[in-house]
Amino acid sequence: MEISKRKLKELYIVMKKCRMHEERAVIEYRKGNICGNVHSAIGQEAIATAVCSFLNEDDYVFPSHRGYCGFIARGARLDKLWAEMCGRETGYAGGRGGSLHPVALDRNIPFVPGTVGSQVVLASGVGLGFKMRNLKRVAVAFFGDGATTTGAFHEGVSFAAAFDLPVVFVCENNQYEESTHWKYWCKLDKLAERASGYGIPGVSVDGNDVEAVAEVAEEAIKRAREGKGPTLIEGLTYRILGHHMGDTGYSYRSKEEIEEWKKKDPINNLYHRLLQAKAISEKENQEIEAKISEELDEAVRFALESPVMNPERCFRNTVYFGWEISLNKV
């Protein structure tokens, strides 16, 4: 299935938004404005963008800890997202989650779990709920190469395979689990091969080619929605920065390797393709950047002007919703 130029341009704009958001996150982190750490996804924007573009409003998405692209691709509000990242009361989770546990309930992103792999089993659970309620909706879990060795991944995929659940499992294989290269432990050529262990289809694509991802994503989402069961998609990609802001990424990766992958930048490459196909102009691109920049400025300003929630209010009647907990530490 060929992706239309119009759609490619839409994907480009979303990826651009992801990239500029991620770059801004680094800046604000260094200024000390972020509550928590930033696990930058710079370089891996194509996968979440492509997958989310085929989802309906009422589908569910579970991003990983490197998952802001999922939020943006789903159309999460930048102001509430940034307020959350800065730990403010006006954030999506009232500041309780901070940068590590944002949510976007209005976009059906219920939780970003702290333990790697949990998102897989949660997505399967959502899929089971959809199936039991006869809803033609789909759940998507995004995770990295590291998650595929977890028990939660194994059990989540096992359930989805057993019951033909309407789930798509998307592995953003950026090749490193923090500092450990995936070939250090993996005897497979491609992680998508794991799928055959569950009897479900698995497909591996160039994760920096948004069109390639889009093709397999559309197929997998359609399959799931039609009740034919889950698919494992692997997109081979790369994160340009370190694991999080405390890691440069240089101690376990060569500068050559990083430069090599910078050349494979999904956004740059798509831009040049669109430029050549005259689907976009330099002037238009500048306008797009300016608009996104303004949106981000607004969102950051809103976040930094918002107060932090009063802790007492935060804990009153929130743990049990029916029982108070003692706020007395003595």
């Binding site: 709920g129 939660a152 989540g156």
Partner: protein, 326 residues
């Protein structure tokens, strides 16, 4: 009043709630048709409600609870059965890091109406990895409601409440109680969570006991009448959140406290109750607090070992006499 077994009472609760609300369903290993669960609690339910609502799962505890949590996010009310308390550890990450926290982390915008049903305790034959009592582990995690019913009547009323509860519940049954019969009203009833019950009134010693230890305490209380020692047996039923008021009122009356549980003594529920009463009612205590609990040891297989490790009626009697000063 009719008498039914603990297991029948639990089954009835689930049957009634599933008939009442079609979003209630169950998932677990071997709970479906033609088997009805390792302890036969779900016998007949698969036949009535079908394979989708009494869902047999793969052998994957983290998967069972994780999938239950996911389904609860989209409007289902799952009852997840974990066959043995000893295996809940396989699901502990999803319980600790997602299930117990998601309501709080979303400021209450997400409901988490999951009941994790499991069973614990010794029965003479189960051995060290199938007999453990681990309620303290869950009591320690904020965001969970933890329930231990001691009678068929309590089990039914508490489970119905638990299923209607929008917060996550750990519902801990006892394998030694499944066959026990007791009076259970045929009329529908619910027992509120978070409220203790005084199972037996007495003026000399407040005995807080949970699960099967409640029965042991009541047996000891009968015997101690002859010695003119009168136990007041309190069954908290819900250990989290705990009804401290009932316990403290009782201690104010008796001046003596004993806590009895089958879990190991160190870091157990007894330690928690002792700390609470020391903090809030020390002036009323005429004697140090006693915890009658299991040795801090694995439970080897067999009655001889179990009786040595686990607290019994004699231990409660012995402790009572010491508290009175005999």
């Amino acid at each position: 009043m009719r008498e039914i077994t603990y297991r029948e009472a639990i089954r009835e609760a689930m049957r009634e709630e599933m008939r009442r609300d079609e979003t209630v369903f169950q998932l677990g290993e071997d709970i479906g048709r033609n088997f009805g669960g390792a302890f036969k609690v779900t016998a007949g339910l698969g036949e009535e409600f079908g394979d989708a609502r009494i869902l047999n799962t793969p052998l994957a505890e983290a998967g069972i609870v994780g999938v239950a949590v996911g389904s609860a996010l989209v409007g289902m009310r799952p009852i997840a059965e974990i066959m043995y308390m000893d295996f809940t550890t396989l699901a502990i990450d999803i319980i600790l890091n997602t299930m117990s926290k998601i309501r709080f982390m979303t400021g209450g915008m997400v409901k988490m109406p999951v009941v994790v049903r499991t069973q614990q305790g010794g029965r003479g034959v189960s051995g060290a990895t199938h007999s453990q009592s681990l309620e303290a582990m869950f009591m320690h995690i904020p965001g969970l409601i933890v329930i231990l019913p001691s009678t068929p009547r309590d089990a039914k009323g508490l489970l119905k409440s638990a299923i209607r509860e929008d917060n996550p519940v750990i519902f801990i049954e006892h394998k030694g109680l499944y066959a026990m019969k007791g009076p259970v009203s045929a009329e529908e009833y619910l027992i509120p969570l978070g409220k203790a019950e005084i199972k037996r009134e007495g003026r000399d010693i407040t005995v807080v006991a949970i699960s099967r230890s409640v029965l042991r305490a009541l047996e000891a209380a009968e015997k101690l009448e002859e010695e003119d020692i009168h136990l007041e047996v309190i069954d908290p039923m819900t250990i989290k959140p705990l009804d401290e008021e009932t316990i403290i009122s009782s201690v104010q009356k008796t001046g003596r406290l004993m806590v009895v549980h089958e879990a190991c003594k160190t870091g157990g529920f007894g330690a928690e109750v002792a700390a609470i009463v020391s903090e809030k009612a020390i002036d009323y205590l005429d004697a140090p607090i006693k915890r009658v609990a299991a040795l801090d040891a694995p439970i080897p297989c067999g009655e001889v070992f179990e009786n040595f490790v686990l607290p019994g009626v004699d231990d409660i009697i012995h402790a009572s006499r010491k508290l009175i000063g005999k």
